[in-house]
Structure formats: C-alpha cells, structure tokens
Amino acid sequence: MSTLTSLARAMAAASGTAQPACTVRHVHLSPRPLVFIPLALAGEANAPLAALVGDDPGAPNLLVVPEPRDRDLRFAFAADLAAVVLRYTASYCADQEPTGGRDPGLRYADAPQLLVPNPGGIAFTRLLGRSTRFRRAEGPYAVAESVPVLGRWLTFFADRTESPASSLMLAATDALSAHWATGQSPAEDRNLAVLLGWIDPPPGMSGAQAAALAEDPLRSPPTGPATDPTFDNEVLDQRILAVRTARLTGGGRAYQRAEAALTDALATQLTPTWTLMWRAAELLRGLPEAAHVRRRWDADKDAFTWHAGHIREGGPPQPRRDGAVSAAGRLANTERVQEMVAAQRAFDDPLVMAEYRMTGEAFAGRVAAAEPDRVDATGRRRVLRPRVTVETGDAVLAEPGATLTSPARPSQKARVIAVTEANGRTRVLLELQGGMGRALTPEPGSVPAIGEPVCYAAFGDGYQPPPAFPASEDTPWTHGGPPPRYVPADEDAREDWS
C-alpha cells in the first residue's frame, strides 16, 4: 500500500469502479492453469469436504467427501485429487529447453500453475500437503501410492507462494488486488466475488453495486475453503446425515440418492466460484505482461524442474519445519528476491515507479544540461565520465555520493555529484559510468540527451549473490548443532487424520 494506491482506492470509492493500480501485469499467467477450489468442513483442522478442480473451463472435476469425518474417505478424496493434479504436472514434464545462466543445463520448457481463489486456498493446500506427504503406500494405514506424491507437490506449490518472484501458485484475490484498486478495504478485497464485482461489474451496474450484491452468500457462495454457516446448518448437515444413515442402514439406492443430493448441494456452492476463477484469469491475461515477468517465470521453471527430479530420484519429502540452516537460507533468499522484484516492478511500470517518486527514492524529470564527452583524467588512466544535470519537480532524497540507476539504462550507474534547489524545482548533477561502450566517446544514445525525459532510482534491478551459509550438518552450537538426518518413521505414516 502507498499513497498512490490509496488515492486510487479513494477514486474507486467515489466513482464506484475499480481503478488500475498497475499499468502492466506483474505475474505470469499460464495459458492452461489448474484451477483448484477446495471446500473444508468447518471446525476441523483440514477436513476436505469437496473440491472443484481442472485445467479446462468447460470440464471441472467435482470431488466430494460424502462423509467428511471418515479417514478412509478423505484419503480416497486425496487419491482422486492426486489423479487430476499429477496428470496435470506430468503434462509439463515433456519438452525441455536449455537454461540460461552460468551453468547451462536443461529445464522443462514450461511449468504448471495452480490458481486458487484466495489466501485461504493456499493455506488449505499447504495443510493438505502436510497431511498427505508423509503417508506410505505400504505398511500400516497404507494409502494409494499417488497420495504422498500429491502431498509433496502441494507442499511445493504452497512453499513457492512465499517467494515474491514466483507465479507457480497464485491466489486470484491477491493477483487481482495487486493490479486493481477497489473502493473498499484490503480485508474486503479477499472476497473474490466482491472483488470481481468491483473490477468487472455486469453491464448496467456500477462496481460498487455489483460488489454489494456479491456480499450475499446466497447469491454468491463463499469462495472457500470456509463454507457459509447457514449452508452448513440448513443444508449440509441434513445431507451428510442422510448419507451416514443410508450407509448404516445398508446403503443401496437410498445411499446413492443421499450422496447425489449431497453432491448437488456442494456443486451449488462451488460452480459460481469456478466461473469467477476463469473470469479472473481472463482479466489478468488482458493486461500487457511486464518486461521482467518472463525472467522470473524461467526461475519458476527451474524450481519445477528441480523438484520433479527430486521426486523422481526418490528424495525425501519436505520436512515438517525448516532446520536452522534452511530457515536462514530461505529468509535471506526471500529478502533478496523481494528487493529484486520490487525494483523490477518499478522499472517495468511507471505507476509503480511513481510510488518511489512519491517517497523521494526515485525522481523523474528532463535533462537540462549534459557533457556527454566528459573525460576524467585525474586517475591513472583517462576514463569516460559524462555528466548530466536532471531537473525535476519531484522530491529528491538522494544525497551526493549516492549511486542511482535509470530504467532506460539499467546497466549504467549514475553517481550524484550535487543536488541544488531553485524555486521549487530540484537540479541533480549526475556522473555516468558504464553502458557506453569501450571508447572514450559514448556510443550514440548511451548518454541521455538534453531535453530527454529521464527517471533515476536509488535502487537497481541488478543481481546480488546469495549469502553463504554453513552446510546443515555443520550447524554451529549456537543454533543447536547439527540436526538429526530425516528418516521416514512409521509414526509419520500413521498420524491420525480424524
């Protein structure tokens, strides 16, 4: 959030329609995402109730747990889900492409993408992954072979959502509200139906009106994983009870009838969201893709390729919690990536950059003066150090000595020599280095010309190397010493799920 997005909210509130918060799309959107809409039984840690899942808008798979408190049926559900998810991920394990970078290798040419309605969907996925990935296909409480594999994939997707750079799994509400500002609070934006009401109201209706209507759980059922309490109390309860009783009294046609009734009821809660999800994808696709998105998606492809290999080679499942070293490594990495993504977003999107101009971390203006051929002879050898003076109306935080970067010339560093203010405008004298070719005269266009509109930011989108951490087996005494190696225990596989 920033003053600019808040202003956009204010404008949306006044006008009754959502306002753009970005000018380009900052997330990757797969041409064939896997939409996953889970419903959970209220009051339970992670009791799947039903799910609508599939990569074809025209052909959703409806999975139902007719008896949500029944362990065996839950695993049956997990197996059904595995069938869909694993078929989908497998479909990306065919064509390969060479990886860029220092150590060239092969990676899968594209990666899967999971779309859930909201952050709750991500949390549910993480828990479902947690509750299935330690299971085993043999021994006590054996489950279908696909179940633990599903668990590891779901965990993988959920974990990736913690990386600001990843698009492997997206929550529709997050993706949408990152690109549009509504006239309501971020808390309310977490309701997909309402959010879409703002962004994409039906003809003849303002966004505000559409949103208000969408708040009625009868008109647009909650997008999960939580269900509407009145649905639980007035519909679901009887339907589940009917199924249970029919089962006790020997199944047969009564059971089929009861189960069908339950399935219908759950379908009424899920199908509206299915439509919303594909509409959301469509809207996002409508935005032009930001320049850096492709590069970030490549990293996602690498991650996907690595994990697929890890599973294929029989590597262990993800641990319950991070060890000391992996926790520190993950934090450092996330911080690095977050900084990088923030910079990339600003460089790709003037509206995002405007937020930094607001705070003075960046400024834009026109080149008022330039010495493109200036050569610095003070050092051992003469070097090309052109100077430009940028005049701007923006606030400027940068102080002499600071190094700035321009989205137009990311490979070029600009050192602040002087900052002077005159009648409300600021003049910044910059000395340029790099990105001008080898000679003592700059390549054409490599130095901003007088009158050229330019923007300079206190941050660059350059790559910082990850910090080095000790190997996990060298965890020092300050952090509890080396952790025990993971050995799959029967206890893991046996863990109740009731």
Binding site: R321, A324, A328, L331, E335, A468, P470, T478
Partner: protein, 440 residues
C-alpha cells in the same frame, strides 16, 4: 552503599573473571551507556594477554573502527588486525596507529592475535582455523541468521549488547519460522540462549551516560527485570545557558524545564497530521536552534572542562522516519546549524549526545502501529543524552494509546518479549507529563 564506580568495577571484574571458566562463553546485557565498548576492549586485552587469539565482531564499520581505535590505545604494543571489505574507506582514527594492520584478506593478518571486523565481513571468511574466542558486540542488533554464518569461526564467545534497543527487522513474512528455537528473525542472543540455556548472563549495573534524572525512568520503562543506576547523582549533571531569554516564550520554558529536570515534553495542540508534521518539524528544529542560541553549557563532574555544544555538535534530534529527519535537517541547514545531528532511531543507536530532542513516534498519529509502538525505538530515542531529553509531541498521545487495539496474532512457543511497547510508552508518558510545556 557502594559507589557507582565500585559497582561497575565489581561487575566488570566478575565478567572478566568469568571468561576463564566459561564453557561456551557468556552474555552481558548492557543498558545504554553502561561502558559496553570499554568492556569489549578490556575483555579483548585480557584474553590476548592470556595468549588467547580473539576475533572481534561488531555490526557496522563505524563500531569496528571505534573499538579498534580504543583497543589500539589500550594496548600500544599489541599487533591488531582490522579486517575490512573492499568498499571500506579507512578511518583516520584507525590508520594513525602503527600497530594496526589493515587488510581485506584474513591471511594478511595471520600475525595478529586480535582481529576486528564487521559480522558481514567475517561471514565471508572460509576455511580459517577456529578462533578460541570471539567477542560479539551489539549482539542484540545482530540477527540470528547472521550469527549462524559466523558462529562456525569460534569455539567460545562473549556476547555484549543492549537488550532494550531496536530488534532485528525484516521486510518479509516470517511467520513460517515462528516458535522455532532457531527462528532466523530472533536476535543473536535470543537464539544463543534458547540453545544454551545454561549460559551465564551478566548485567552492567551502571549507566555512565544517562543522568540521575533519566536512569530510574528508563530502567523502569525499558529494563523492568534488570534495573540499573546512573553513575552521577542527582544534580551533578547540569545544563546552564550563557544568555538569558528576553521574554518567556514556550521554547525557553521548555529549555529551562529540561535544564532543571533532565526532561521536558513540548506539547503541540492536538491534531492528526501527515507523517511529516510541519509544525512538529519546525518545533524540533527551533528547540535545537534555541539550545545553541542560548549558548547551553553542560557541566558534569567526570569532565574537567564544561562541554560547550559548539554549533550544536553535542546536540541531536531523533525521529522515527527518514523523511521526518530529512525535513528537520533541511530546516536546520537553512538556519545555519549543520552541526546538529538529525537522524532516525535506527541510525542513532549506539551514539551519545549532551542534549537530545525527540520527535515522539506517535505524535499526530491516528493509529499506532507495531512500528511506532516498538519499545526499542522509543528506548533508543530517549537514552542518547547525557544531560537532558526534550520530547516533542502533539497532545492526545495517551488517548491514542488507550484506543489502540491489541489484537496482534500470538504464536506458540515464542518467548514473550519485554518490555511491551504499549506498556513502555504508557509508563514513559506518565513520567513526561510532569514536565509538560504547552507550545504557545
């Protein structure tokens, strides 16, 4: 009753004595200005005297240079190594010592029984034999994950730090690690003690910096469990003004109050403002300027000559946000007072001044946030001064605190952090309210 000096000396003796028998090392909590650096230097000296090589870890080049300078002065014959990064520009106070070797590579410092550097630089050292001892300074500002990167370099360590100051911070979501004993977001000391609960923790009992007027207040608000006292007694630290005011405007009354009591609360009329509140900015600058104009002279028993804040170099203004600091700096520059230090709490950590003007983090706000409530922030701002602290705030801060919803999520197995910012703010405000001066 024993004198402050004796108390402090006893404590230091115990700590230095404790070094010998320490299995893994020990932790020393140091309230503001309690002689943390002195202890570090003496410990380093003591260990090297005993023939034990020592690596000294501090958090910033600034801190490393200070320690290097002081150690060099304390041990003129000791070969001292200053390990630095490539981008480091050597400080005069370091290079002037001939027995200090400066290098970017540890190999070049092989001959030095003691090597000082920043944690980040140490973290890049690989394959060196383990040091028998490390001294880690500002350990509460050091993050657990940074300690993880350097801890492999030493067998035992003396961790010194101020538990009351700002906690390590991260811009990313960290719930994932909540409750883990090695949560990378903890401070180095926190993670250390959770894995070595038997490690002895000492406290330095005397603040040399804070005056008698501040020690009890600060101690109660920010160090509820380990109290401390001031080295100087009531009235021993004085502020006098070489000129007397013409009228009695609010600024001068505030100065007088601060001079006589060590505290003052300059209260602007209640108003919700934008983050950089022009009036508050002006007030902070005006107060700082006025201190200089009035030729404030500070007397303290331990200093032979009275410190004269020439052009305000002994004066600082502290804020919560960078843009606030910048605005105040601009006004002071325009007013011909570039000497006055203006900075945020984060940057003022570990620094010391005679008189400090504080723009209260909650001044003019509608809602308090975790950031603005953080005990450490207020603690840093109100513990930089040797003589007096003037807090500038809009009226209504107590109401703001009372209206503050306390609904932060609670994570299991996470030790509760004390003091709680909300409570600390309440208690400090209660004290300040006695020294309130309403802006004219």
């Amino acid at each position: 009753m024993t004198s402050a000096a004796e108390l402090a000396e006893q404590a230091t003796a115990t700590i230095l004595g404790g070094l010998a028998g320490a299995r893994r090392g020990l932790v020393v909590d140091s309230p503001p200005g309690a002689g943390k650096s002195t202890l570090v230097v003496r410990a380093a000296a003591r260990l090297t005297d005993a023939g034990e090589p020592v690596m000294v870890v501090a958090q910033t080049n600034e801190q490393v240079d200070d320690l290097t300078d002081r150690l060099a002065a304390e041990r003129p014959r000791l070969a001292i190594g200053r390990l630095a990064g490539i981008e480091y520009t050597p400080a005069q106070r370091v290079v002037r010592h001939q027995h200090v070797t400066l290098s970017t590579r540890l190999a070049d410092l092989a001959g030095c029984p003691v090597v000082l550097s920043t944690a980040h630089k140490w973290a890049t050292v690989r394959g060196a034999p383990a040091w028998p001892w490390a001294i880690v300074d500002e350990a509460y500002q050091m993050r657990s994950d940074l300690l993880l990167r350097v801890a492999g370099l030493f067998d035992r360590a003396l961790f010194v730090g101020d538990p009351g100051q700002l906690d390590p911070f991260s811009a990313v979501q960290t719930e994932r690690w909540a409750g883990l004993s090695w949560d990378p977001m903890q401070s180095a000391v926190a993670v250390l003690l959770r894995h070595n609960p038997d490690m002895p923790v000492y406290t330095l009992p005397v603040s040399w910096r804070l005056p008698a007027s501040a020690a009890p207040v600060v101690s109660e608000a920010f160090y509820p469990f380990t109290g401390f006292r001031s080295a100087t007694g009531p009235g021993e630290r004085r502020v006098a003004f070489s000129t007397s005011p013409f009228g009695r405007n609010a600024l001068d009354v505030t100065l007088e109050t601060a001079a006589s009591s060590g505290w003052a609360l300059y209260e602007l009329p209640a108003r919700h403002t934008v983050r950089t509140d022009g009036e508050a900015v002006a007030a902070c600058a005006a107060l700082a300027a006025r201190i200089v104009q009035r030729g404030a002279v500070t007397h303290s028993p331990e200093r032979a000559v009275a410190g004269v804040p020439d052009a305000g170099t002994r004066i600082a203004v502290g804020t919560a946000h960078r843009d606030q600091a910048q605005a105040i700096r601009a006004v002071l520059r325009a007013g011909g007072l570039p000497g006055v230090t203006v900075d945020t709490a984060n940057r003022l950590q570990g620094r010391e001044f005679d008189i400090v003007v504080v723009l209260h983090p909650l001044s003019g706000r509608r809602d308090a946030t975790a950031f603005h409530l953080e005990a450490g922030r207020l603690c840093v701002l109100t513990t930089r001064h040797r003589h007096a602290c003037i807090v500038v705030a809009r009226a209504g801060v107590p109401e703001l605190l009372d209206a503050h919803p306390s609904t932060e999520p609670v994570h299991l197995n996470v030790p509760v952090k004390f003091p709680d910012g909300w409570a600390a703010n309440q208690s400090l405000l209660a004290h300040l309210s006695q020294y309130k001066v309403r802006a004219a």
